[in-house]
Symmetry: C2
Subunit: 225 residues, 2 copies
DNA sequence: ACTTTGAATATTGGATACAATATGCGATAC
DNA sequence: GTATCGCATATTGTATCCAATATTCAAAGT
């Protein structure tokens, strides 16, 4: 029998859908730091009971994206400047390792896709997109790596600071600089020079950290949910 | 008014208690890999409904300790040899950084406590304790560090491999070697030599990785839940 | 006015009830 | 005997309901 079957058992449950949507909203900064997440309100939005909402919130808490207090509910977790700095330090440690591992495994297609994303990022003048384009570029580079666990941790780290990165790209001259650095990293990858790509990436992340810390007060005062 | 008040709002909820107990049972290897976690069974054990059990399982999944399939339930997640190796590589990257950060911040008390744990580990001839004593020694060293996020990630990494580390300590000569290496690391800390402690720790972890990989087939065939 | 108290409301945590799906087993057809 | 089907049971996912706690606000006392 020839059918294009999909594995229905891996279909998303209500709670995982809600988790994904809330996660996205939080990391993109659509819900302001310290905003409460009301179970009832969310349940109504998704036309479900509060049960799957609660499970989604439990997972978000485990990811460090919200903080909950018994009988008081969950609020979006924010970071202090030193905490954000620490997350960047972790990224600066992990992501270069991932990239070094990925470079020798990159296919022609993968490199082409990365270049496309890199160009799109550089060309875009729509601030709303920058965050996505930035992340998708990094993600594409790492996708060739087989360090699943490293990637998982790096993803979580990025989740925690993406909000600030987005705001920083808009406020500062971060966009131009990031574009240039991305091309340099990409070129090292294309040359097959993992060590160089790795070093450039490290500098890229630490540069972003510095820039972020410089603008941190301005970033956290912006409420936008 | 002077009372030794405790913050009751931070009292543990049923779901967090269940989470803690399940987590402990899983990382200590009391529940075998791939064993199913039956919601009803667990709920009965704790005299609760399945609701808090489900929240606990959601969190465990987010931590990578169990895998779930829709309508089929959760099973304890196991690691392949390369996956375990990757987790050790992550530890070898993170924990030395944590220790380097911690060393200059260690109080006399902290060092004394670490030495006590180190001695206890070295002296113990009760295999059941080894895993705990090992972890508590490492934890004490890191406790002086202010890298909360690094520690969080390192903890999760250790959670995922602790089962194997425990088994390996029992099967191989890992115990003796670990004891010696612990003392060397501790001495470097006592001398205030963070770089040296950091290097020794890295070697310690990579040595454990090597030893673990050598024994991996034997470790994973042992079922004990 | 300021503080305190207590009741009304809002919100969360958990239990029970029901729906959807998986699993095991016997019956039937071949 | 083997394969397939269909029902009974087991298990999970979600909705509804109740209990516990937080929050708000008006009333009363000072």
């Amino acid at each position: 029998m020839k059918l294009k079957a999909i594995d229905i058992s891996r279909t998303a449950s209500a709670s995982s859908i809600i988790f994904d949507v809330l996660r996205k909203a939080i990391i993109e900064g659509e819900i302001a730091e310290n905003s409460p997440l009301r179970q009832d309100e969310i349940a109504t939005l998704f036309n479900t009971s509060r049960i799957p909402v609660r499970e989604a919130i439990s997972r978000l808490e485990e990811q460090g994206l919200v903080k909950t207090q018994r009988y008081k509910g969950a609020i979006v977790a924010g970071l202090s400047a030193p905490e954000a700095a620490e997350v960047f330090d972790l990224r600066a440690l992990l992501e270069p390792e991932i990239l070094r591992n990925a470079v020798p495994r990159m296919s022609r297609d993968c490199l082409a896709e990365a270049r496309a994303h890199c160009q799109a990022f550089s060309d875009s003048d729509s601030p709303m997109e920058w965050g996505d384009l930035n992340r998708v570029f990094h993600k594409t580079l790492y996708s060739a790596s087989d360090l699943k666990f490293f990637i998982e941790v790096a993803d979580n780290a990025m989740d925690r600071v993406e909000r600030y990165v987005r705001a920083q790209l808009v406020i500062s001259d971060g966009m131009e600089r990031a574009g240039i650095e991305h091309f340099a990293i990409l070129e090292a990858c294309e040359m097959g020079d993992g060590d160089r790509a790795s070093l450039l990436l490290r500098d890229h992340i630490l540069g972003a950290k510095r820039s972020l810390l410089d603008h941190f007060p301005a970033l956290t005062s912006r409420q936008d949910g």
